[in-house]
Amino acid sequence: MTMMHYEPHVTSDGRTIGNTMMEMKNITLRFGGVVAIKDISFDIREGEIRAIIGPNGAGKSSMLNVISGFYKPQEGEVWYLGEKRGPMRPFEVARQGIARTFQNIALFEGMTVLDNIMTGRLNHMSASFLDQAIWWGKAEREEVANREKAEEIIDFLEIQAIRKTPVGRLPYGLKKRVELARALVAEPSLLLLDEPMAGMNVEEKEDMSRFILDVNDEFGTTIALIEHDMGVVMDLSDRVVVMDYGKKIGDGTPDEVRNNQEVIDAYLGVAHD
């Protein structure tokens, strides 16, 4: 499939799509004999919502894990903000301003919703605890600022009612929302969402779609998300990468991808859920 020429521009709804933020070059990832990602290249532009779609086991989560440093590809290069990234551990990637959620939700089950969200601010706290012991005033101001940011995100995602609830007690849909809150509160430049709507009912899906659009629109956050549901993807995203059996079989705007024969075949051939 030929790539349409894609330049920085302003979308019909007034958002700005800028220069390349992240570029994956010829990424190959293997697990023993299984090739999860096979020589894939694509880019993510500043300000866009980039979707990765494909059937189960296509390698989507693996790709997100490569971006966030959880998996190390055997081949290929990752470029972020114009610089080639060396081997990086997940916490270092997070500190570069890349936040994420997980397909299977990774929350601190023993903490309250608010405490979970506050962990997203850890990298906005001053470096040393000696500082905190000595400069009570400074530490307190910082704490207040972090709390304010957390409350702002809590309001934004409409989860005021469960602020003090231990996360372990929440239903699935709300957990997904808390996980998003924890990622957002870090004020990331790039937000990675692995199936943010999986397992949700129609109403929850609509809420989540609205939140994702609002995050992109109001905070200007660049988003890369994985989604199963074609319909949702077409509504949300500016551009789509399609994966199947570890290979990239399509890349372009939702319209381009929808009309691509290989994509149609992949989806009809392995249509499960």
């Binding site: 962990t119 704490e143 924890r182």
Partner: protein, 329 residues
């Protein structure tokens, strides 16, 4: 008031003080276990090592002097000074314990990430015996007296007060009182650290979920060095208290064996559990020895704690404050 009851009160009070010591050692276990899932068999030896290091520095000994003398044919034993101020020596020892934590993480556990708990446990057994050897080699194996200037001997205020009340003066050691106060401050400090500081919160996050912790930018490696350092610090405090009481010698490392029933009782993941468990065992074994002990020939302290813990285990496997284990089916 009946005489026996008054005696029992004195025994309980002393048991409570001993319990504080048990709690201190158990606390070291809990810190590491929560954050990394490692049951650190070496915690007791760490207390011994810390106490030996402290005495060694205080007395101005040259570390590894036997080894140095054997290799180079020299006769060095002491540094030019003979008594280093206690506070300075303690600070230096803290430094040594931090270096130890860093080494343990760097050399051993960094390479065992993701291994089965039993393998991690085995590694700590190896570590325990290795550290014991290092302690010997570094400072020699003679029994030392440790004196950092803590008050010792009977507390006269308590003695007098209880005499006025009951016509019998309680014997409570000043050192035990100091130990309790220090332990209370230590626990309060740890709790504050975990609640309010960046590093403390990172520690709690890692204790809860590794993946989630990574995703918010926490370095697991850093947190693990941190908890080993904290456990080393707790070991030092325990080592100072026990060492001041009964001298610095090999048996100090056996206090770890007292921590096990405390953990069975209090749960491996709970700081309040370690404290309450320690107190229950301390009081329980003292009272048992006092009441039942004479009838069955005494020396029940050696095993009573384990019986108590076992009975408890049958009824509440997760411990007093441990999280309830619910099998998912």
């Amino acid at each position: 008031m009946p005489e026996q009851l008054v005696f029992a009160m004195e025994v309980s009070l002393n048991g409570l003080m001993t319990g504080v010591m048990y709690a201190l050692v158990a606390l070291g276990f809990v810190l590491i276990y929560k954050a990394s899932g490692i049951f650190n068999y070496a915690q007791g030896v760490m207390a011994l090592f810390a106490a030996m290091t402290l005495v060694g520095i205080q007395e101005g000994r040259v570390p590894f002097s036997h080894l140095i003398n054997a290799i180079f044919g020299t006769e060095v034993h002491h540094l030019p000074w003979h008594s280093v101020p206690a506070l300075f020596a303690i600070l230096l020892t803290v430094g040594v314990m931090i270096a130890f934590a860093w080494l343990v993480q760097k050399v051993v556990f960094k390479h065992l990430v993701g291994q089965e708990p039993i393998i991690l446990f085995m590694a700590t057994i190896g570590l325990a015996y290795f550290l014991e050897g290092v302690a010997d080699l570094m400072w020699g194996s003679e029994i030392r007296t440790l004196d950092v200037g803590l008050p010792q001997g009977i507390n006269l205020v308590i003695d007098e007060t209880t005499f006025n009340w009951f016509g019998y003066g309680f014997f409570i050691d000043n050192l035990d009182i100091v130990a309790s106060v220090v332990a209370a401050i230590l626990v309060a400090g740890l709790v504050a650290f975990a609640q309010y500081t960046k590093q403390g919160r990172a520690m709690r996050a890692v204790a809860d979920d590794h993946q989630a912790a990574l995703s918010v930018g926490i370095s697991l490696n850093f947190v693990w060095i941190l908890v080993w350092s904290l456990a080393g610090f707790v070991a030092l405090v325990a080592g100072i208290m026990w060492g001041s009481k009964s001298g610095v010698q090999f048996s100090l490392s056996l206090i770890a064996l007292k921590a096990l029933p405390v953990l069975m009782l209090g749960g491996f993941t709970s700081i309040p559990g370690a404290i309450v468990g320690g107190l229950i065992i301390g009081v329980g074994e003292a009272l048992f020895e006092f009441t039942i002990g004479p009838m069955i020939g005494g020396a029940t302290e050696n095993w009573f704690a384990y019986v108590l813990a076992l009975v408890f285990l049958v009824f509440r496997p997760q411990g007093l404050f441990g999280e309830k284990i619910i099998e998912r089916v």
